[in-house]
């Protein structure tokens, strides 16, 4: 459905620059109109009658999933906003610095009325280049926001040296190798890098390669380049966070859907609380179509995407980002899904 209103979730630890980015999005001459759901009034310097204050009321669904939390206030606010459909093109949800992005994301999959009229576009996280390393040590929220993100603005990049910047970027990659990282000063970034990402759109799950080779190396660059100059920095250091990791699984042997679906459903039912995000492209035996899925904790969303192309390698690939995940058990389980 193309007429669903895209929703961008803006996260970031206190002081990283979320409000700066928001003000930039609202003030740049792009001809688009946004409804904005903010956690605190008064910080936005733009006159906009579609700015709504939120209460961040998170509650658990009574469906047996302990990690299935949603934002009740968002359901109510989106229902209200949609009465003014036609007055805005997109919705931006700003969360507090201490917020976990998962309940926001899950709201779009759990509530039918919200899901029917809006779609989650991407989770954008603003990180402070100078302080992120410290926050990753003392603030689990900051780590969640990085691990969950589709797009990360490594902001205030001008306030740290080149080596320090490479260091913090490597830390981010250790938590989340799949997000796009942009180094920014005062959140200066072309808006298409932040909005209209379709990160949760199954049709856009094309490739699950880590984003190492495609990240920008400059702040506020307006030209596209291949970004291969990373390699000249003497190679990226690899960091492994103690509790947050990501890993990928792949096989070129066709999978048996009757084994795979029960396995993945059981996996997220049991280990959903530790799995923040998951994505996959799957090749099933005797199935001409690619199957794609993506998930947030216990919620999975999947569909046939398109036919495998001639000459395309029929390879199944899954990625997981999470906290203390039972990687060996997941690997063994996945191998058992081969047809």
């Amino acid at each position: 459905m193309t007429d669903k209103i895209p929703v961008t979730v803006l996260t970031g630890y206190l002081g990283a620059g979320k409000t700066t980015l928001l003000n930039r999005i609202l003030s740049e001459p792009h001809g688009r109109k946004f409804a904005v759901i903010v956690n605190e009034f008064g910080e936005i310097g733009i006159d906009n009658d579609l700015v709504v204050g939120a209460d961040e009321e998170v509650f658990e669904m009574n469906n047996g999933c302990i990690c299935c939390t949603v934002r009740g206030d968002l359901i109510r606010i989106i229902d209200g906003l949609m009465r003014r459909k036609g007055k805005f093109d997109a919705i931006i949800v700003e969360t507090t610095g201490l917020a976990d992005p998962a309940p926001v994301a899950q709201t779009f999959f759990v509530d039918d009325n919200v899901g029917r009229r809006t779609k989650l576009d991407a989770v954008v996280t603003v990180a402070d280049a100078k302080w992120l390393n410290e926050r990753l040590k003392d603030a689990p929220e900051a780590k969640n926001q990085i691990a969950f993100a589709d797009v990360i603005l490594l902001n205030k990049a001008d306030l740290v040296g080149k080596a320090e910047l490479a260091e913090v970027e490597a830390r981010i990659r250790g938590l989340n190798p799949y997000a796009r990282i942009h180094r920014t000063e005062r959140c200066a970034i072309p808006l298409p890098e932040v909005l209209g990402r379709n990160a949760f759109d199954l049709d856009r799950i094309l490739d699950l390669e880590p984003a190492f080779l495609e990240s920008d190396d400059h702040g506020h660059d307006h030209h596209h380049h291949d970004g291969h100059d990373h390699h000249h920095h003497g190679g990226l250091k690899h960091y492994h966070d103690e509790d947050m990791q990501s890993f990928s699984l792949k096989t070129d042997k066709p999978l048996d859907p009757d084994k795979f679906f029960p396995w993945i459903q059981d996996l997220v039912a049991k280990d959903g609380p530790s799995i923040l995000r998951s994505k996959g492209i799957l090749a099933f035996k005797d199935d001409p179509d690619r199957f794609v899925f993506q998930g947030v904790h216990m919620i999975l969303d999947g569909d046939h995407q398109r036919a495998w192309k001639d000459g395309e390698t029929r390879e199944s690939r899954l990625v997981f980002i999470g906290r203390n995940m039972p990687e060996d058990k997941i690997r063994t389980g996945f191998e058992g899904c081969v047809a």
């Binding site: 009658d49 709504v52 204050g53 209460d55 009321e57 509650f59 669904m61 009574n62 469906n63 949603v70 009740g72 206030d73 359901i75 109510r76 606010i77 209200g80 906003l81 949609m82 009465r83 003014r84 459909k85 509530d111 039918d112 009325n113």
Partner: protein, 335 residues
């Protein structure tokens, strides 16, 4: 096409079309004047057989509407609560000092009005006295009790029964989860809430006994009592669900009536004010009148391009007004 109901008796030819021009979010009758509440700004007042009159009552979205039969009360994202009578005269009767959204409204039979903004619920008596109560979380639903000056407020993890004129602490009814709408049974014995999960919860008020009504495929967004007050009709499934409340134990241990099955879900229900008949509007635009006794159906509107979003009867039960999400609307003369 089962939903076309080709063989069903039809009232479709007796429809007076109304050009709402935008989503209809609620309808209320003030005598024989149908008031169509739009998602934004305005009301359309239509006397049966007469012209349409548009009036603007809010500066933005209209988020809630209720009526006592004399006035229609609306709450908007402009932070105002506005009462409008059948002549189209509007007055602001309340609001929020901080201009927060007015999420819910209720109208009492003695001219009292209630509304909510965030975690606060307000009442204003006919004499203009205003009272406020702070709730533990955002208000999901408001309902006046059928007798006495008492308000039920639904919120997370239950509902609160508030006597605005009493000194006593409000009574708490607890049940885990998010309660999004609330209604008293007309005899005042039961309180029913609709939840975020696709089920209803009910308390017998005499002893606080719990009842859980489940089996829905979607969140229940519409509830309506039958004329005799003995049954509660609801949306939320691909048939009309009617729960029995006549016995001492209400629907405890009893299955609901399941009537008028369709290919799409029931979106809105409205009980006929005098007979055991319920109007059901479906997600595909169909509107049926369904007799509870035997499930007999009469077609009031054919399926259309958008879900039915509002239904209302006049007090005599001779007119049924309907509205849809795409702005299609009409008034059907039933007898």
């Amino acid at each position: 096409m089962p939903n076309a109901r080709a063989d069903t008796a039809s009232l479709v030819k007796r429809t007076q079309p109304v050009r709402a021009g935008g989503a209809v979010v609620a309808i209320q009758f003030l005598q024989d004047t149908a008031v169509f509440v739009l998602g934004e700004e305005g009301l359309i007042l239509v006397e049966h057989g007469g012209a349409e009159r548009r009036i603007a009552v809010h500066a933005g979205a209209i988020l809630a509407a209720a009526s006592d039969g004399v006035r229609i009360v609306t709450g908007g994202d402009d932070g105002k609560v506005v009462a409008t009578d059948a002549t189209g005269a509007s007055t602001t009767v309340g609001g929020d000092a901080k201009h927060r959204w007015i999420d819910r409204v209720a109208a009492g039979l003695d001219g009292a009005v209630a509304w909510s903004a965030g975690k606060q619920a307000f009442v204003r008596t006919r004499k203009g006295e205003e009272r406020v109560i702070d709730l533990p979380s955002t208000v999901g639903g408001l309902a006046f009790a059928p007798k006495g000056f008492r308000l039920a407020v639904a919120h997370y993890n239950g509902a609160t029964l508030w006597f605005p004129n009493a000194q006593a602490a409000p009574e708490k009814l607890e049940w885990r989860g998010s309660h999004l709408d609330v209604t008293f049974s007309p005899d005042g014995r039961f309180l029913v809430t609709a939840m975020q999960e696709p089920n209803l919860h009910s308390w017998r008020l005499a002893d606080g006994k719990h009842m859980r009504m489940s089996g829905y495929s979607a969140k229940v967004l519409s509830m309506s009592w039958t004329a005799d007050g003995k049954a509660l009709a609801t949306s939320g499934a691909d048939q009309l669900i009617v729960w029995p409340f006549q016995g001492k134990d209400g629907p405890m241990g009893k299955p609901p009536e399941m009537l008028a099955p369709c290919e799409s879900n029931v979106a809105v229900v409205a009980g006929h004010p005098r007979q055991a008949v319920v109007a059901a509007g479906y997600d595909d635009g169909l509107v049926l009148l369904v007799r509870i006794e035997d499930g007999a159906e009469i077609l009031a509107k054919k399926p259309g391009n958008a879900p039915v979003s509002a239904l209302a009867w006049n007090a005599k039960g001779t007119l049924l007004a309907w509205g849809a999400e795409d702005g299609e609307a009409g008034i059907v003369r039933v007898t």
